[in-house]
Subunit: 343 residues, 2 copies
DNA sequence: TGCCTTTGCGTTTACGTTAACGCAAAAGCG
DNA sequence: CGCTTTTGCGTTAACGTAAACGCAAAGGCA
């Protein structure tokens, strides 16, 4: 491997000159530049990253703005775990992160977390921009000179460096295909359960599903918690008992329906399909109450978010504008190959 | 982040002494060692890998011994691609590899490739040890002082550093579950097509399948090529036409059966399930002739093989003895999320 | 011609770690 | 007691790159 010294020798100049020409900094004669560039080509010279970073003593301080881990049945623990793992691996490369959590159903906490984050300056930002309206303007200033990565949800109108996530419509279509398979011969309906709160990518999961489903689909909205939830579940129970052969849940709360099915001894007759390997879902999958879980590798999303900023800030290489992860199908038989938390 | 200088200052010694104590090299007084270790603890000091590697000017030359890319319907291109990608990313960290390919159906070429590989010395080895009997002894000497990674197939009796691959029995079970789903209501049989040649992990894929299949399974052995293959296919055709509702193929050659089904217009009536996203399989999946493809992330296997050696040789951290990858289920609806070659 | 500015480039230090080298003090030995 | 050996530890060069600094030569101007 050629070093900057070899280049300098071949071009007949000093390493300082080579460095200046590489970085287009300071002053140099155009003829010299040509010779140096030729030498770089001839020797196939690439700077040694280790030496570069050592010399720059670059650090990468990252700010992460996301919901607290427990929300959505513990879903956010998954990307969080991925980030922590990636950070541990990159710790000796001077990559570190501060986490700012908010309540995704409370815009005020989002703004507060953002404010706390803004107190220091970071080299890069990772954000789950769940509150579209609030996010639009927030990152405009920051984006001027620091990379901002969105994960989970994309906001096309907001400025960002890269998006890491899922293609939700395809996920819905896939769910429909599996549901069709399971309900072959069944003459009743499918219930699609989706949260009360508006969320763009859950809408896509519904759209894709209804597009491909071969049985009639009844959409059933469910509040997040409390008495309203209880009442609605009671209603749902009646519906399921009578005329339903499968239930599709668009978010990570399939375990709520699973509990209902189990209690009412409906689980043999009614197929259930949901999203995300949160602990409650995993245990109902294991019992056979949930038939399929789809995921979009939330842990990998976390890992990739950190790595994307590391590459940008420390190595200096750019990533794709959109980074989609595969949609995985998980069932009783392959769950344990996913289960060690690495996926 | 604390440096060795800080440690030295706190312990009241020079950096040379600290270094000697860290590496347990040369001579030092036991009292000094205690003080230095305390200081390391107090400051939470970890050596900077970049500086360490720069100083050691460590290189990692890797030898890869595997079948040539075209074999097995182009399967080996997949891990090969993963290795190339990982190598490209690590190029400026002085990781490089030489590839030695063989014909997996010809033991002589395996030995020849091994001999060529043995002409130089490498810092690490990646091997697809498909010929169990030959491999047993081969790596004993090498393993004495260099890490050897097996991928795809494990040989428990041979010495190795780590294995990267799949749990084949689980894959078979999963295949059975999906086949059961697809053939619900069908009263005929399933044909399990498997290559003539002996291969341990294909046996496991059969075992797992027959264990969980709900219909009777007929095992049908297929030669690799030539006239024998043609005759056997003719035979298979008769079998399928009469009394079969699904075909399960244990290796990457599902496309051979797919072609047969398509030609004989049997694809609507007979379900087909196979392994590996090789180009031919992908196109039959797209046409709907193949219903499901299972994979064990061959590309990731390649990436992980390189990374495992990089971590061992350059960073100095050990990996697990066995590294299993998740079993993925791929169908028409989620195939495009896998299709960009990154998975 | 003398002085000042600009241009082009070489020199040097720093980044943090490793490891060779060698010096002083202590210990061993006749 | 004087000599050699051992012990303990400090100093230093090297890894490859970045960037500040400053020197010499050339050019500009009166």
């Amino acid at each position: 491997m050629a070093t900057i010294k070899d280049v300098a020798r071949l071009a007949g100049v000093s390493i300082g000159t080579v460095d200046r020409i590489i970085h287009n900094r300071g002053r140099f004669a155009s003829g010299t530049a040509r010779r140096v560039k030729q030498a770089i080509q001839d020797l196939d010279y690439t700077p040694d990253i280790r030496a570069r970073n050592l010399s720059l003593s670059r650090k990468c301080r990252i700010a992460v703005l996301m919901p607290s881990g427990e929300q959505d049945s513990g879903y956010w623990q998954l990307p969080l775990g991925g980030m922590k793992r990636a950070l541990a691996e990159l710790a000796s490369s001077h990559v570190s992160a501060d986490f700012f959590h908010f309540d995704r159903y409370n815009a005020e906490t989002y703004r507060a977390a953002f404010a706390r984050m803004s107190e220091s300056e970071y080299d890069g930002y990772i954000v789950a921009p769940l509150l579209a309206a609030e996010t639009e303007k927030m990152f405009e200033d920051i984006y001027q000179n620091k990379p901002v990565v969105f994960f989970d949800t994309d906001i096309k109108s907001a400025p960002r460096y890269s998006f890491i996530g899922q293609n939700s419509k395809d996920a819905g279509r896939l769910a429909a295909k599996l549901t069709n398979l399971m309900t072959r011969g069944c003459k009743k309906r499918i219930v699609a359960v989706t949260p009360d709160a508006e969320n763009e990518h859950l809408l896509y999961r519904l759209d894709g599903f209804t597009e491909k489903a071969e049985l009639p689909v009844t959409i059933f909205r469910l509040p997040a918690e409390g008495k309203a939830l209880k009442n609605r579940l009671e209603e749902l129970k009646g519906l399921i008992r009578e005329e339903v052969c499968a239930v599709y849940v668009t978010d990570s709360s399939a375990h709520v329906i699973a509990e209902l099915l189990e209690r009412e001894k409906l689980s043999d007759r009614v197929n259930l399909l949901g999203f995300d390997m949160v602990p409650d879902n995993v245990s109902y999958l294991q019992k056979g109450v949930i038939d399929f879980i789809l995921t979009q590798r939330p842990v990998d999303q976390g890992v990739l978010s950190i790595q994307t900023l590391y590459k940008k800030v420390i190595i200096g290489t750019d990533s794709e504008d959109e980074q989609f992860l595969p949609i995985d199908i998980i069932t009783l038989e392959n769950m344990k190959t996913f289960a060690d938390g690495r996926f």
